[in-house]
């Protein structure tokens, strides 16, 4: 099966000789959830931006299957003086979504995310703002959903709710690439777990085939790489 997104020997740097990420090989298929763990400054955001099509790699190639739609939710979501529906409507018009379809999709998302009609996003709690962030990423049903630390800073209840939503998108067939740094992050719901440190990606084992004898592999790697 052709991957939706494929990275071959991808590197990115702003100053020659000081790569932020380097030698990244990665392929993501439909319906997969790939969780990438790494500490602060490990290059997670840079990698996700390249996957989302923001900027070009300094080395290597990022390939997308024809017609693939990508949704992207950054870690830091600046709160604009828009109401949530208004903000989504603007982004839908940028996507050139037909008005009727756009209105229907926004109502659908407001229901799905249990968002009450509210004032401007500037007054939202972090959890509410993060919901809007996720809503914009799935405004057009994405083939690949790229999420930069979506659970960071949220309380347990909000984390559980957002995880439930992510799994719903996965069931609809979206591939999800998600980053995080918390211990235990994405365990139990990610198909694949990769580790990013000093700009290099290490994917030790496909979790779907992980044997019981190697149950401690993730913990060992975290320990070796000094994360988690």
């Amino acid at each position: 099966m052709e991957p939706l997104i494929e990275l071959r020997n991808v590197g990115k740097w702003y100053t020659p000789g000081r790569p932020i990420i380097t030698g990244i090989d990665l392929a993501v298929h439909r319906g997969q959830v790939l969780a990438i763990r790494g500490g602060n400054g490990s290059g997670k955001t840079t990698l996700l931006k390249l996957i989302a099509g923001i900027g070009r790699p300094s080395a290597g190639v990022v390939r997308r299957a024809p017609g693939v739609t990508v949704g992207y939710a950054p870690e830091r979501f600046e709160r604009l003086r828009f109401r949530a529906e208004e903000y989504l409507a603007h982004l839908g018009r940028i996507r050139r979504m037909p008005g009727e379809e756009l209105g229907r999709r926004i109502r659908e998302l407001m229901d799905l995310f249990q968002m009450p009609p509210a004032g401007p996003i500037t007054r939202f709690s972090k959890g509410m703002a993060q919901k809007v962030n996720l809503m914009q990423a799935v405004l057009v049903r994405p083939d690949v959903l790229v999420l930069d630390e979506p659970l960071s800073g949220l309380d347990a209840k909000a984390q559980a709710e957002l995880t439930r939503l992510l799994l719903a998108f996965r069931r609809e067939g979206s591939a999800i690439i998600v980053t995080g740094h918390e211990p235990g992050f994405a365990e139990g719901w990610a198909d694949r777990m990769a580790f990013l440190r000093n700009g290099r990606l290490e994917e030790p084992r496909n979790r779907a085939t992980e044997s019981s004898e190697d149950a401690d592999t993730s913990a060992w790697i975290c320990d070796q790489w000094g994360i988690g």
Partner: protein
């Protein structure tokens, strides 16, 4: 052109209230310019075009901060590419400049501030000059601001220096001698446009074409440079 993107960016800028200081300076400047009546048509339009040049640069420089990095990334993904986003952002700055242009052209006529009726040729000349100067200013503002220039203070200083030098270039050369002209050759051709507006009879034939075409080419080069540098920074 992605009209939805342009409108979103203009709307976001307006909602951020960052427009307020430049708009206030523009309105006060315009009122001071026409405080006394009557006024000569083209000299007054030349002055208002300089005002539009500065205020458009201010708007261009303030556009990035209206949304922030992450919102720019989101908009770029929805627009389909970083280049499409940057093109939309440039057009949004130009659209704001166009509103200033029209206000600067219509206000004195509506207020009866001129000493004679504005002829069609004068109006067209003034319109073209205002549009070109606001576009030049806007492009300079985009180029000489964050994130292209990392430090805000450096960006502001560089922008003000370029704006002022590009307007007073001829006065400085008159003082220090035309031999220094090559030092100023890379500056935006704002003074040439203002001269061309005030002395339309002196600019004829090829020289006239150069007066009006060179700023367009220069502005195009600024936009290209901005897109290249901003794409790398995103």
């Amino acid at each position: 052109m992605n009209a939805g993107l342009v409108w979103y960016l203009v709307y976001g800028y307006l909602r951020s209230y960052r427009y307020f200081p430049p708009l206030l300076v523009f309105l006060i400047g315009l009122m001071l310019l026409y405080a006394n009546r009557p006024n000569p048509v083209m000299e007054s339009y030349a002055a208002s075009s300089v005002l539009v040049y500065f205020v458009s640069a201010w708007i261009g420089a303030g556009f990035h901060g209206a949304v922030g990095d992450a919102q720019e990334h989101i908009a770029a993904v929805h627009a389909g590419s970083v280049r499409a986003y940057l093109a939309g952002k440039t057009l949004a700055v130009f659209a704001c400049g166009l509103v200033l242009d029209l206000a600067a052209l219509v206000y004195p006529v509506a207020a009866g501030s001129f000493d004679a009726p504005v002829r069609a040729g004068e109006w067209l000349t003034a319109l073209l000059a205002h549009i070109e100067l606001s576009a030049l200013g806007g492009a300079l503002g985009l180029l000489l601001s964050h994130p292209i220039v990392q430090k805000g203070t450096h960006a502001t200083a560089a922008l003000l220096l370029v704006l002022i030098l590009s307007i007073v270039r001829d006065g400085i050369l008159a003082e220090i001698g035309e031999g220094f002209a090559p030092l100023f050759v890379l500056l935006p051709p704002a003074a040439t446009l203002v001269d061309g507006m005030m002395n339309p009879d002196m600019a004829t034939g090829m020289r006239s074409a150069a007066v009006w075409a060179w700023p367009l080419a220069y502005g195009g080069a600024l936009c290209w440079l901005y897109a290249r540098l901003a794409e790398r920074k995103m």
